[in-house]
Symmetry: C2
Amino acid sequence: MNDLNVVAETIKKCQRPLIGGHVMPDGDSLGSVLALGLGLRLLGKQVTMASSDPVPELYSFLPGIQEMLVGEVNPGDYDLLIVVDCSVPERLGAALLPFYEKGLTTVVLDHHVNDQPFGHVNYVRSTAAATGEIIMDLLDVLGVTFNTDLAVNLYTAIVTDTGSFRYENTTSETHRRVARLLEYNIPVARLSNLIYSEQPLSQIQLLKEVLATLEVSESGQLATICLSRQTQLSIGAHDEHIEGMINYARNIKNVEVAIFFRELEGQRVKVSFRSKYFIDVNLLAKKFGGGGHVRASGCTVEGTLMEVKAMVVKEAEKLLGGVLNCGRYYHHP
Amino acid sequence: MNDLNVVAETIKKCQRPLIGGHVMPDGDSLGSVLALGLGLRLLGKQVTMASSDPVPELYSFLPGIQEMLVGEVNPGDYDLLIVVDCSVPERLGAALLPFYEKGLTTVVLDHHVNDQPFGHVNYVRSTAAATGEIIMDLLDVLGVTFNTDLAVNLYTAIVTDTGSFRYENTTSETHRRVARLLEYNIPVARLSNLIYSEQPLSQIQLLKEVLATLEVSESGQLATICLSRQTQLSIGAHDEHIEGMINYARNIKNVEVAIFFRELEGQRVKVSFRSKYFIDVNLLAKKFGGGGHVRASGCTVEGTLMEVKAMVVKEAEKLLGGVLNCGRYYHHP
């Protein structure tokens, strides 16, 4: 039942929709909830927008965000649950899941590959770069007139999920939709600043510490960085700021594989992998009980930072050239 | 005479055009030269493409770049000079300027604000995000059939001059053109890697050193970084890698003004300014005999690193709040 018209008919019939996205909300989830919520209000619906998890401060500029319920949703009297950017019920989180479990009619709108979406009415388009693209099309089908607030939310959804139009999911259709959104006087430079140029100072301090651990293999194709638990605690950085650090290793010239070793409690190490052009790091993560995608994967391994690093680097070098140069793996001056 | 048809007529009549851009070539200059050059070849012209300055290694992936003459252009027998992305003859550089000076008919295609372009036939459109947009339109007027090689060059021109579609110059028309370019099977993710994810290791080492000098004012609105001549020489970093460092200071949360102090030979300091939302750093640079734009400017000041920093920070804080907190200006833990 992959038809936007069916979704539109279902939505037209409702009066009091509850709209939500996934836990640990990102720009696509939030922007999609808000664009759809503000859009349905223009059609006269009594809209409630909600998130089980807190909204990252980064997204406090999104039009309508101050009206989003966070962490708790009163039972209320909803006649439809609309879920965006969420492929399994569990990712609705504690505040929204009960409504689905109690049988409230549920519409799922998503761009993740998913053969069995969990809604009563579903629309999944995995070629969409962001769920925001689907919301944009749905608003058109519903006959909603666009405005700047809608456009800013949709733009944010699309720009964040495409990494500023750099990822593989970016298509002609993505740019064509954004061309249209820009006609609603979106302040592009200001939004870019708000999204990309407001990094917490702790993130920069973390970067300084992490760069001090950078090592590049003799071949230049493998780069590693490390973060001890002690350093992390002393800086007090959030997980969302830690994750991105691996890109500094990945983005070094000639590096194909980047690995980030992050010490956890109880002699465990979280290992993240990234590759640039040809190495399947999903295979690498699988060797250590993890998984993920071809260019981004991860696993958690028991042992000290040093032990885990030695083991994982050995496997990575095998994959990178068959040549075992572990003895010559050195700290670049 | 700001008519693309006039340009097209002039170009149609030529047989052996010499095409060049500006010194210190960037993505827009190189991509525009190559797209136009490859396009005119498809029309049967005997095209010579040239650059007075070396091509940054970063751009070695551009289709056709290996055919570009660098640093020296034999007198040859050219019947037209086509100059892209260049607003004054001096920026043609030593290899190309003589052709203009000797009176070779010159076409100028540019997107910089310029009331008096220097060509015999000129087309200037300052609303274009990149000269690449103008070249794209010109190729259409000339009836050139697009292909992947042309599209990659035009895409690179546009994506680099808009900072990946983040700068103020990005318009609906920009995205509309890129939507069309993507139809020629551009490998977006691969190009993004080549353009943004191949940073020399020396750049990361430089970053480590420069971050160690980061200071943020008590108000959190002013951030400074420094680079001593000794550090720069010991790392051996290129100017193009040094310039970008200021963004790490600018992109800190709540920071409005970022200043980068870079020690030069002979007791002089190069000072770069960036602002985010509201401070006019052109005014700031002018106080020290420099200049630039509202959000990006610079000057060179005589004195030691410490002296110049104290002076400039004082003026910046005046501008930022009228409150002189120099005594409380401190090194953030």
